[in-house]
Subunit: 407 residues, 2 copies
């Protein structure tokens, strides 16, 4: 008998009607001859409601108590879903993270899984039951409830698939799969059949918010086959799998735009060894994630240092930049919120040349100026004016012929 | 340092403002120099909302899953309350039932506490923290979440007070304490200063719904001093304590009326040994609780058997009565919903005579007919016409001079 792990997000279980529909999907998978483990998130708006309540009682709620509060959301979901499955005539048993030994570290609100004891799940499966598991949550070694941070239910699902050696980890969502670009922007964007973990990782960090990056890293590490698919239909979605030789033929798999970026430029920084490390260290010590980084030497002995941060971090980043200007004796800094990051991703880049050139030409033809460039082995990102971002995405999508299947 | 256990019901933590007020009460108790453990119920309407949701996904939700669902209510309360206490500058730590080893049997939705491991609470108290504990819930020996049934948070509080050897278990409620009669009916009803466990047990089962009977039995067994008091003011409420010699001087401590009763009379039952047992067994086997029972011999060899059940059980009780009439060869049965049970309670009855006489005279003076009489060692109950119940309560209250303090 095959083992299927399924993950349903909060919008899939937002009300009683949706819970009943998800229950039917679960029962179908079971009756198709599989052992089924379903991982569920908190109902749609519940988490937001609880956060509002917490803010009404405290301006600085302790993280441990936030975890205690928010982890009730998934617990409600699994109980309700187990009832709905039971009502369809299949036996189900719900589990909170603590009950199946999902042991994490103690970093409340963003804990990492250290260990899972699958004994109770295996017992339930062998007894013919469907296991309904609370995503997003665990316990530390002192039984304090923890949560895994944004998108943590994906991580729970992938981790369970790994530890149970499941055939597939199905991520149910409200889209049909991963597209070559956001179909709301690029009308002829095409659903991708297969992606490597590395490509999905790059896309995930670029605004294709179907899965949390950490869960994909986990899947790559333990070689868990992921199937991103819609909970509204039976269409095959996108498989995210171990890299195979034939994938190399596809130079660019997808493109994405992230508008959640802001640029900070430090001007006239004395250009001496260790200065870049000081600057990055300054941001890191305030928990600000720096993305694209560019250093230009301007005048003799002075450098300009540009970097991007998420818009949410900009207020903190400004304070850091102010302090750095003083500490380093730089001449000043500028911020720009009206930028966007456009990226193309593909493992074929490793063995193909001319990808950057084709991308830059396409942008030039549209008269779009490139402000910053950053590359990795399988990704090229450029920073452009936010107002031109959609136009840029369409141009690049066309330039790489992404609307047509490579096969 | 004294140990105070406090219990706050669902209406006390119904919204953010109330949670903050309860937090202040908790902090006050701590700053008065006590170790404080606060037991909390689910927020006001949350439990009802969750029950509605469960009914929308299943007409017969499994009890295990109901417990999984409903136990989230207290977990939210303790997290929010711990945040609110923290915001007032005292350290607090919240605990779900499972986290402090409240081990119960496996009777979901009405489990009984088997054991409590106070280690974590004691550690928290010794570290100067306030322990905020989820009432109403525990885990069975297989880590399945359980709930303790109606009023279960009282039981949690009393059990913790017992195991921690607390000085007092404060039950916060929306009234000032236990009154000699319902002040909404008897204008000059008086707050009782001290009651014995047995008296409170009788009153609890008579409609003084301040505490669950089971929790009082628990308190009696472990000699836990209970203080029923208002969460709206600082007034001293009613202490429920071990019986003391001076309490014997008070013949009647309080009076109560229960209108949630119905009468069933079986007519012409053959009067032979074992017939009463058959009748009671018939009701018991349908889980119908029979309260007052009266047997009269009417004609030669035939008896009338009257009993009271709760109004909610009447439809079931009718079916049982129908079957019994056939089985026993009785002549028929009658039901009457328009009755009420009036009771007076007092441990002084054990050593004083004439209590029943005084009660019956008071009723006779008001022209109130007594339909049934039932007595225990410390209680006399009569069944009267429902429309006359309030008048009867006032007459009895006056007859025993309950408006005046006995001290």
């Amino acid at each position: 008998m095959g083992i299927t792990v399924q993950k349903f997000g909060g919008s899939s279980v937002g009300d009683a009607a949706r819970i009943r529909r998800v229950a039917q999907l679960i029962v179908d998978a079971k009756r198709a001859g599989n052992h089924v483990i379903s991982v569920v998130s908190a109902r749609g708006d519940l988490t937001d409601e609880l956060i509002v309540l917490s803010q009404q009682v405290s301006t600085t709620p302790p993280r441990r108590e936030m975890d205690m509060l928010l982890s009730t959301g998934e617990q409600q979901s699994v109980a309700l879903l187990a009832m709905a499955v039971d009502a369809l005539g299949e036996e189900a048993i719900s589990f909170a993270g603590a009950q199946i030994g999902i042991v994490t570290d103690s970093f409340h609100t963003k804990a990492k899984i250290k260990n899972i004891d699958p004994t109770r799940i295996i017992e339930a499966l062998e007894a013919g039951k469907i296991a309904i598991v609370a995503g997003f949550q665990g316990v530390d070694e002192n039984s304090n409830l923890t949560t895994l941070g944004r998108g943590g239910s994906d991580t729970t699902a992938v981790a369970l698939a790994a530890v149970l050696n499941a055939d597939v980890c199905e991520i149910y969502t409200d889209v049909d799969g991963i597209y070559t670009a956001d179909p709301r922007i690029v009308a002829d964007a095409r659903k991708i059949e297969r992606l490597s973990y590395d490509e999905m990782l790059e896309l995930a960090s670029l605004g294709a918010q179907v899965m949390q990056a950490r869960s994909i890293e986990f899947a790559k590490k333990y070689d868990v086959a992921i199937h991103v698919r819609s909970s509204f239909n039976n269409t095959i979605g996108t498989y995210i799998v171990r890299e195979a030789a034939e994938m190399e033929g596809i130079v660019v798999s997808g493109a994405a735009v992230s508008k959640d970026e802001a640029k900070i430029a430090l001007r006239g920084v004395p250009d001496k060894p260790g200065i870049a490390a000081s600057i990055l260290g300054g941001f890191a010590s305030h928990n600000i994630n720096v993305d694209v980084i560019i250093q230009n030497t301007s005048e003799a002995g002075l450098a300009d240092m540009s970097l991007t941060v998420s818009k949410a971090d900009l207020p903190d980043a400004r304070s850091v930049a102010e302090a750095l200007v003083v500490d380093l004796g730089a001449s000043g800094f500028e911020c720009d919120e009206n930028i966007a990051k456009l990226s193309v991703v593909g493992i074929g880049m490793r063995s193909h040349t001319g990808v950057a050139e084709r991308m830059f030409s396409a942008l030039a033809e549209e008269g779009i100026n490139i402000q910053m460039i950053s590359t990795s082995e399988i990704k090229i990102s450029v920073v452009v004016d936010e107002g031109l971002a959609d136009k840029a995405l369409m141009a690049v999508h066309r330039a790489f012929d992404l609307q047509n299947s490579p096969f």
